[in-house]
């Protein structure tokens, strides 16, 4: 009976498709669990007080830590945020409040393009813009590279969040005679602040793990440095250097550093999720 065979085939194809899709999805989740499991297994034993408070030991000596890299990362990220966030929010405000025109579309499009530029290229550009002009590697150059990466993400999320604010809210403010700039700052921006903050933190989480833009800018440093004008250590850079090293102890520390970095990033995202409970994670990708 051909019709019964056909029916069987259709039903079989349905089961097979469900089975395959479910199986592959479980596989992807499994890969994630495997990565986290290895991070914890390999890293947890080495994250201790010395790791968090000491600087790297000279080659051959066991011990030491990544304290200077953790502080260095914090400094670079802080400077990058100071540069990147104002520009990002400003661009977002422009796009949402004034950008319903040709220029707005162009900027929106360019921001999306900038978002897709490989981070290593941004590093090259920061090198020729800052390092070559200053004549030396510096924490500031690294911050510029990361700030460039932050701007498009912050701008686009700010725009999206501002557009969520109902037009009637703006009209109510105009009706009270409040000028537009004041409306934008005190009312529209304030209404959308949770979403904007989310965007900022996700952009932050994204740049926190970047290695490539720092290689030719911040360069890395085995010692303490608190100057914006000196080469500085950064956690991702230190992990990269240690991963490539032939020393058992450095590789152990690379895993520890990786665990610290992941905890930092995942907790940023968890805080965002907890506070705002919105599925905006993919912006971090």
């Amino acid at each position: 009976m051909p019709s019964r065979f056909l029916q069987f085939r259709r039903r079989f194809a349905d089961y097979l498709a469900t089975f395959v899709a479910a199986g592959l999805s479980i596989f992807v989740v499994g890969v994630l669990i495997a990565i986290f499991a290895y991070l914890v297994i390999k890293g947890a034993g080495s994250v201790n007080w010395a790791f968090l408070t000491h600087t790297p030991k000279p080659v051959g000596e066991i011990g030491g830590g990544m304290a200077n890299a953790i502080v260095g990362s914090a400094m670079i990220l802080g400077m990058a945020s100071l540069i990147g966030i104002p520009f990002g929010i400003g661009a977002g405000i422009y796009l949402a409040e004034y950008g319903r025109n040709r220029l707005g579309s162009l900027i929106r499009f360019t921001a999306d393009v900038l978002n897709g530029v490989p981070s290593i290229v941004i590093g090259l550009v920061a090198f020729s813009l800052v390092v070559r002009r200053q004549g030396h590697f510096s924490a500031f150059a690294g911050a510029v590279a990361l700030a460039i990466m932050m701007v498009p993400t912050v701008a686009r999320t700010t725009e999206e969040m501002l557009l969520l604010v109902p037009q009637t809210v703006r009209e109510a403010a105009f009706g009270l005679g409040i000028p537009q700039w004041r409306t934008t700052i005190s009312i529209t921006l304030a209404t959308a602040r949770a979403g904007i903050l989310t965007g900022i933190m996700l952009a932050f989480a994204r740049i926190a793990g970047e290695t490539a833009p720092l290689m030719f800018t911040a360069l890395g440093n085995q010692f303490w440095s608190f100057s914006a004008n000196q080469p500085i250590a950064a956690l991702p850079l230190q992990i990269y250097t240690y991963a490539l090293s032939p020393y058992e102890d450095w590789i152990r520390q690379a895993w520890a550093g990786a665990l610290v970095l992941v905890i930092l990033i995942v907790s940023t995202i968890a805080v965002v999720r907890f506070l705002f409970g919105r599925s905006v994670l993919r912006e971090a990708s």
């Binding site: 479910a22 992807v28 991070l39 090198f127 590789i251 994670l281 993919r282 990708s285």
Partner: protein
């Protein structure tokens, strides 16, 4: 503007035009009418004018911030063009077709790196696309509701892991795994294709493609999910009402409708893979060669920059590396524009990355 400054503006322009040959000088002298124009405007403040200028100022400030986005992209392009001009003048288009890479002799060709970038990215796509589409289809169409959030959260978490950590994991877990458990059967059963031949040391195109695949799964699957979500519900209902099984409904009613957007998502993933640096550099083996076998080591455009830029001493070497960066920039920009357009047509004007 009010009447008072308007009387002055033509004055200023006339002076400017009259003194055309020394225009720059006129601008610099403090006694130009342009300056007095500003002071006149300040002398007549009424509160409405004040508000007006504040509004204009705010608009200008925000516009300035937005224009930095354009300026940054312009700067990237001009800096790369400028810094790579030496290599461009030396080698011209031949740079992209030559496979010599000899810094000592000053002979540079980018072909092995272009080859490595393309092959590893395509390999990543081959591995990632089925997985990413499965996740997207499973989460939006098949999966029981309570599982939906955890699975999408897990894939999104994959996106948040930094490249260097993928690299570390790939170096110490994935590479040995591939060498011991994956490469031997591939060589045995698919060795005749020539794609899986020769000795496998672990660090290979295959390892790079695999780790990149894991990294681009979240991008492809999250954008595909967005695209699937815009397929009208009645398409699904119509298919089911005609007696389609669920899979037929997905295949004919959903996937077919979302085709353009899914292709866009895949191309966006490709864009990300092309520029991926750190994880790839750690596992690809960094050997500038064009090998047919995927088990052989290779080199990519991004990794050669990462590895050699800080050691490049003479200016031709630096310039050659920057030219590779320029090529990488242009290719990813084109790929991204293509993808944005496809996703944009699929979501019909809604911002491509909107999550609102």
């Amino acid at each position: 503007m009010a009447a008072a400054p308007e009387r002055r503006i033509p004055d200023g322009e006339q002076t400017g035009q009259a003194a055309d040959p020394v225009f720059a000088n006129t601008m610099a002298t403090p006694e130009t009418p342009r300056i007095s124009l500003v002071t006149t405007a300040q002398k007549t403040p009424s509160w409405t004018r004040n508000l007006f200028t504040l509004d204009v100022g705010f608009h200008g400030l925000m516009l300035g911030a937005a224009l930095t986005v354009l300026a940054v992209v312009g700067l990237i392009l001009s800096e790369l063009l400028q810094s790579s001009s030496l290599a461009w003048h030396q080698f011209g288009f031949h740079f992209f077709g030559a496979s010599a890479w000899d810094p000592v002799a000053g002979d540079f060709g980018a072909l092995p790196f272009i080859f490595g970038t393309i092959v590893s990215s395509l390999l990543a796509l081959v591995i990632a696309v089925p997985l990413a589409l499965s996740v997207a289809v499973f989460v939006t169409e098949m999966c029981p509701k309570p599982l939906r959030k955890p699975i999408s959260f897990a894939t999104e978490l994959l996106a948040a892991i930094p490249s260097v950590i993928y690299g570390l994991w790939a170096m110490f877990i994935l590479v040995p795994l591939l060498r011991v458990h994956v490469a031997p059967p591939l060589m045995k059963y698919l060795g005749w294709t020539g794609l899986f031949s020769g000795p496998m040391y672990g660090y290979s195109m295959l390892a790079a493609g695999t780790v990149m695949a894991i990294m681009i799964i979240p991008i492809i699957s999250s954008i595909t999910r967005e695209v699937l979500a815009v397929v009208p519900q009645h398409q699904r209902e119509a298919a089911l009402a005609l007696g389609a099984t669920r899979w037929e409904m997905i295949r004919l009613g959903v996937l077919k409708n979302a085709r353009a957007g899914i292709i866009g998502a895949i191309i966006l993933g490709l864009g990300r893979a092309l520029g991926e640096t750190i994880a790839v550099t750690l596992v690809i083996g960094n050997t500038p060669q064009i090998a047919k076998s995927l088990l052989a080591p290779g080199y990519t455009m991004a990794s050669v920059i990462a590895n050699e830029f800080n050691e490049a001493t003479d200016s031709l070497y630096v310039s050659a590396l920057i030219e590779i960066g320029l090529a990488l920039f242009l290719v990813t920009v084109i790929v991204n524009i293509l993808a944005q357009l496809l996703v944009w047509t699929a979501t019909r004007g809604a911002p491509a990355r909107s999550n609102a």
